[in-house]
Amino acid sequence: MTGTELKELFHESPEECHRELMREYGKYVYAIVFNKLRSCGTQEDVEECFCDVFTEIFLKFEYDDSMINNIKAYIGTVAKHKAIDRFRSLSAANSHSVYIDEEEMAGLVSDFRVDDHFESSELRRILIQNIKELGEPDSTILIQKFYYNRKSAEIAKTVSMTASSVRSRCTRAMEKLRGKLAEAGITV
């Protein structure tokens, strides 16, 4: 559904419009939020943040028409910002921050430069590329197992297989991925 169609639906039934918005962009928002909170939040944290994002979007959708033409990008931006906020509050609550004196900070600053950033972006791209090249259902199984930390039984429902098949398929897919990454010069 386009932004304009959603807006028309909003005039008929705001609740249906909200439901459709969440159905259309739910996975997208979940992927963004999970990506930011994976390291510091629980499943509940991710879901709470997910709800916050949609609450914000419902409100903006009602009062602000300017994002209708590019609604997906707008939703992506809101999701990213909300997830970053949540990440900060969770990190602070978990006391993840450590004291670094000025000398150490100077060292860190000089180490963290564009080259590093570029390198990790490039590694991510290669990793994703290689996972996708494994084909379905292996790519889905690997990502859901190791990135989304889902159980084999849960993944089994998604890919219409048994849990034991998912486990064995996962082991083989992981081996294949290792081989492909090694060919690309990445040792894991």
Binding site: E15, T77, I84
Partner: protein, 386 residues
């Protein structure tokens, strides 16, 4: 564990890879979907109800504020007494001054020509007498001084409402990117790290407060009418005078969390690099960008029902005092703001000077000065008295 470490690398991924993640993201089953939807819908209804309550409260308070001002009525008998007292005072000053002059002339020799320098001395001496300041004080009563500037002929105006409303809306829409003023491509944006020394010199949009502290995002402007800062300046001249645009930097330096309304010179920086400057518009490597948080600023809904105070009116200029609910000049009348509604006496305000542009016979904003709470209330009471 080792397998998981590879996948940890995927955290905080770039936006361009997010499509892949969305494709590989597990489906949200119906039961979970309904649960999440119910929670979002409930939160939405709660927040919407809060907004409505705030709107109602604001409207009610606005009405009360306008009608509820207590006018001071002096007793009728006081009028002739005060007139008599004024007459005695003025007569005393005149007689006293004459007497002093005569005394000086007698001392220096009456009827003889007095050298120019001595005349000046005499005048100074007179000004040091006790009567003169009282005369000055009587004149001062007609004037109000706001931050060192005299404000005269203060009125609660209806005449200028439409002009002020239209110009201020246009000007604020322009710098807060409201109403689709310029088309943007949300998929194309750059990110810089904010230097911790950057002085966030004003209230940030409440929902962006945390995330804005150390990141600065700019979204690509894709609009044929505005491809550069020069184009923007041309557009802004419909609302502002050249003088104002030249001094806009000072305004942002002093009152906002932006270094300036527009800037360039970032071409050597790469994405993610740190900067201690933040602009509303940025020209970067030949492209025009807008600060992403500008879009998130509170909506300026114009004057609404708020009273408007006009002062210093001439044929070619006047000064408008616009009330704000919050100290942020772009948040006035922002009923969705978390800030509590305030009484007129506690309102912040912005002093906006309008001048007539003879070339197009239209009004332009020449200066905007924010004032702390109290100023608007003082002017309002003064205008109501008069």
């Amino acid at each position: 564990m080792e397998d998981k470490n590879i996948f940890d690398m995927l955290e905080n991924t770039d936006d361009e890879l997010m499509e892949d993640f969305t494709g590989l993201c597990p489906e949200i089953d119906d039961e979970k979907f309904e649960k999440l939807f119910a929670k979002s819908e409930e939160d939405y209804k709660t927040r919407k109800a809060e907004i409505k309550r705030a709107e109602e409260r604001y409207n009610t308070e606005g009405d009360n504020s306008v009608r509820g001002v207590e006018r001071i009525r002096r007793p009728e008998w006081l009028r002739p007494v005060m007139m008599a007292a004024s007459f005695v005072l003025i007569a005393g000053v005149v007689i006293g001054s004459t007497a002093m002059l005569r005394k000086d002339k007698w001392m220096t020799g009456a009827g003889t020509s007095v050298p120019e320098a001595e005349t000046e001395d005499t005048t100074e001496e007179i000004s040091e007498t006790t009567e003169e300041p009282e005369t000055a004080a009587a004149t001062e009563e007609e004037k109000t001084v706001i931050d060192g500037s005299e404000v005269e002929n203060i009125t609660i105006s209806t005449r200028w409402r439409d002009t002020v409303d239209e110009k201020i809306r246009a000007a604020d829409d322009l710098v807060t990117m409201q109403q689709g003023f310029i088309s943007m491509d949300y998929n194309d944006f750059i990110e810089f790290a904010a230097d911790p020394s950057l002085d966030w010199n004003g209230p940030l949009p409440s929902d962006m407060r945390e995330s804005e502290k150390d990141k600065i995002y700019y979204i690509r402007v894709k609009d044929e009418a505005a491809e550069s800062i020069a184009d923007l300046r041309t557009k802004m001249k419909d609302s502002y005078t050249d003088n104002y645009l030249d001094n806009l930097k000072d305004f942002y330096n002093n009152n906002r969390y932006y270094t300036d309304w527009a800037g360039s010179g970032f071409d050597d920086l790469n994405e993610g690099d740190m900067t201690d400057k933040t602009y509303i518009f940025l020209e970067y490597r030949g492209k025009l960008y807008v600060n992403s948080y500008v879009k998130s600023c509170a909506v300026s809904s114009g004057l609404g029902d708020s009273p408007l105070i006009i002062a210093n009116e001439t044929d070619t200029s006047f000064t408008a005092f616009l009330p704000h609910v919050t100290p942020n000049v772009f948040d006035y009348n922002d009923v969705s703001s978390d800030e509590p509604m305030v009484e007129i006496d506690d309102m912040y305000c912005e002093e906006v000077k309008f001048v007539l542009d003879p070339e197009c016979n239209d009004w332009r904003i020449d200066s905007r000065i924010p004032h702390d709470s109290g100023v608007f209330g003082e002017l309002y009471n003064r205008a109501a008295e008069e």
